[in-house]
Symmetry: C2
Subunit: 390 residues, 2 copies
């Protein structure tokens, strides 16, 4: 086995979850997924496709009608971005979209800059390709995390092949402003650096906006800029287990991306793409309901959490996580394990997302029944009463 | 974009197919897929899973019950191989299984040896990882292709990180004997070379055997040998469009492979895995029928083809292709394009599979209605009558 593969860090979230598997008394908030089943109208489209016998290979870049529907969907949210179907490829999940982008751009030895803490997959993917990864940490201010823009811009030099940014951010809920995106993009233009934006949480955004989503690099970029944006059906349509996503990319890269899809996964299942078409057709019923419910979840959890003595937490502007710390508990891996074992509460340890996350805990608030969140806080409070550091 | 990605060859099969798209008068045999829908019992299992709401993430390495069922399935065919569930990971298609194996083993600059002509994805995958690829050509003897064993063994040195072999072979139908496998494996042991065997056609084998499949490297290897075997549900269960496969690998590699799956595709859909479980449960009804039918297809096509003046062809021992040449037609890309345009016959050009394939044509004989094959030969004969080289 390659040394770089042997050294890839195993998921610390899985490590905690495995400790609680099979225990029905554990309230689990560790994974980044809602506990609500995919809407019936979406499942029905896949069922009908299967019943009608759509079990053959499809186009590498996705069904033409799905690429067209995605272009319209992106156009609704980003009317100035000029996204047409020729700039979209359908992928086997958001994670596959990101991996394909990295394969297209990163040679072994290339330098890649990543804003952390972040979903660990973003750091692992360039490492798999043999890249040198450099992390630029967000800074916590109270419970909220902020970008150190001078540090980021200083890290991106003409030697930087690729910048990877995930905003709205998993795990911190940090988002970029439009002005910050302009500044980053201008700097990347000057250094010739490609930009890979993981914007899968753009619809899960809780601030007032004209188009119902977080600021996107697409809003400030030109179609032929060195920008790729990764998306997923997982979050906005409750479709985590379906494994379907897409990339928005310069049209000049689409042929190459079609080849990479052929050599990685060949294509997405037609019946899954039919489900995606239904999701997009019913998007005005589905996504606003999900976002309103997640906001209710956030606004249930965060005030309760912030009342717990010693807890530092801020309401996330986007995403589906509360990222928080508890005074006196600096080893969040240990805390997460103890919470599973002693309190029946399943959270993700902050160091799963980078060294900066040490001392923090991630709580996925996407829960069909918001009362589970209140019960979780009750368990945390009770456990803390008996386990305060002296 | 990386230079190595820009230089990846676009599919020559797609180039031909695109020339015939939208033409209902073309009999298409260009892709490696049957035109028969997935059996109903398999589709029903996925439909029931979707209806019951199985739309969440699953284990990186696959559902434990599917890994268990695959271990039993592999044990039926390879009783001495000692394959247990801990040596199996479920992947998003056979192509993903192969790509994951290459990611695990091949650093940029490593030397990889591949037996060609072969499915082009096998050559592209190590190139994506930055490897140096060295091809060892099979040799045509009449219509049948044979391995030049001394040339292969001479090509594999201690500098060779990985050997990739696809047998039964796409496109030639060439298969390895058990003795050849022993010889290759022993040589790879002596040079420390890993072996990646693409055995997705093992059940589509038309010679009498005790266990109903082609010879496999698993039959001659020890569990901890440097051997990975890639498999797929596509061919033996008519499930091309589902994108589900698996790897058999040393147990010591499974944890690393789970991480790579997380970073590439995360997991396969649960409903697709339920379909796979149904496929395995009904394997004794499904696969023998498919194999008998494909053999009937082969034995319809090959005798008719061999009666066409100037055609060199031999019955494939395995796989689902007739690979043949026509005297006087050395530019098979040109012939394939003309056959689409002038004869309404869609075949794959041999050079899609490597330079050795130039002058050859691949005909996928997996056709639900075998009379389509006879009609195809009639079109070829008629076209040749008017287009013989002078």
């Amino acid at each position: 086995m390659r040394q770089v593969i042997a050294q890839l860090e195993a998921s610390k979230i899985r490590e905690i979850a495995n400790a609680g598997l099979g225990r029905k008394d554990v309230l689990a908030f560790w994974f980044g997924e809602s506990d609500e089943v995919t809407p019936e109208v979406i499942r029905r489209a896949a069922i009908e496709s299967l019943a009608s016998g759509e079990t053959f290979y499809s186009q590498n870049c996705g069904l033409p009608e799905l690429r067209e529907a995605l272009a319209q969907y992106m156009g609704d949210s980003h009317p100035t971005a000029g996204v047409n179907a020729e700039r979209i490829v359908v992928t086997s999940g958001g994670v596959s979209a990101l991996m394909l982008a990295v394969q297209a751009l990163v040679d072994a030895g290339d330098e890649v800059v990543i804003v952390t803490p972040v979903w660990p997959n973003l750091v692992a993917q360039p490492a798999i390709m043999g890249a040198q990864v450099r992390c630029v940490p967000l800074q916590p201010h109270g419970g909220a995390w902020q970008l150190d823009m001078p540090a980021l811009l200083a890290a991106i030099t003409p030697r930087t092949r690729l910048l990877i940014v995930n905003a709205p951010n998993n795990p911190t809920g940090w988002t970029l402003t439009c002005e910050e995106q302009q500044q980053i993009l201008a700097h990347c233009r000057s250094t010739g650096t490609w930009l890979l934006a993981d914007e899968v949480y753009e619809k899960l955004y809780y601030e007032p906006t004209p188009h119902g989503c977080a600021p996107s690099f697409l809003d400030v970029a030109e179609p032929e800029n060195r920008l790729l944006v990764a998306h997923s059906f997982s979050k906005s349509f409750l479709m985590t287990g379906w494994r379907l996503g897409w990339l928005v990319l310069p049209a000049s890269l689409v042929d190459a991306m079609g080849k990479l899809i052929e050599f990685n996964t060949s294509c997405a299942s037609v019946f899954t793409q039919r489900a995606a078409l239904a999701a997009l057709a019913y998007r005005k019923e589905i996504t606003p309901r999900i976002v309103a419910h997640f906001m209710h979840c956030r606004d249930t959890l965060v005030p309760l959490l912030s009342q717990v003595p010693g807890v530092q937490v801020a309401p996330a502007r986007g995403g589906m996580y509360a990222f928080f710390r508890i005074d006196g508990f600096d080893d969040s891996m240990d805390v997460a394990k103890r919470l599973v074992a002693e309190a029946g509460l399943g959270l993700a340890p902050g160091e799963a997302f980078g060294v900066e996350g040490r001392g923090w805990l991630r709580w996925c608030f996407a829960s069909k029944d918001a009362s589970r969140l209140a019960e979780g806080v009750r368990r945390l409070s009770k456990w803390l009463e008996h386990n305060r550091p002296q």
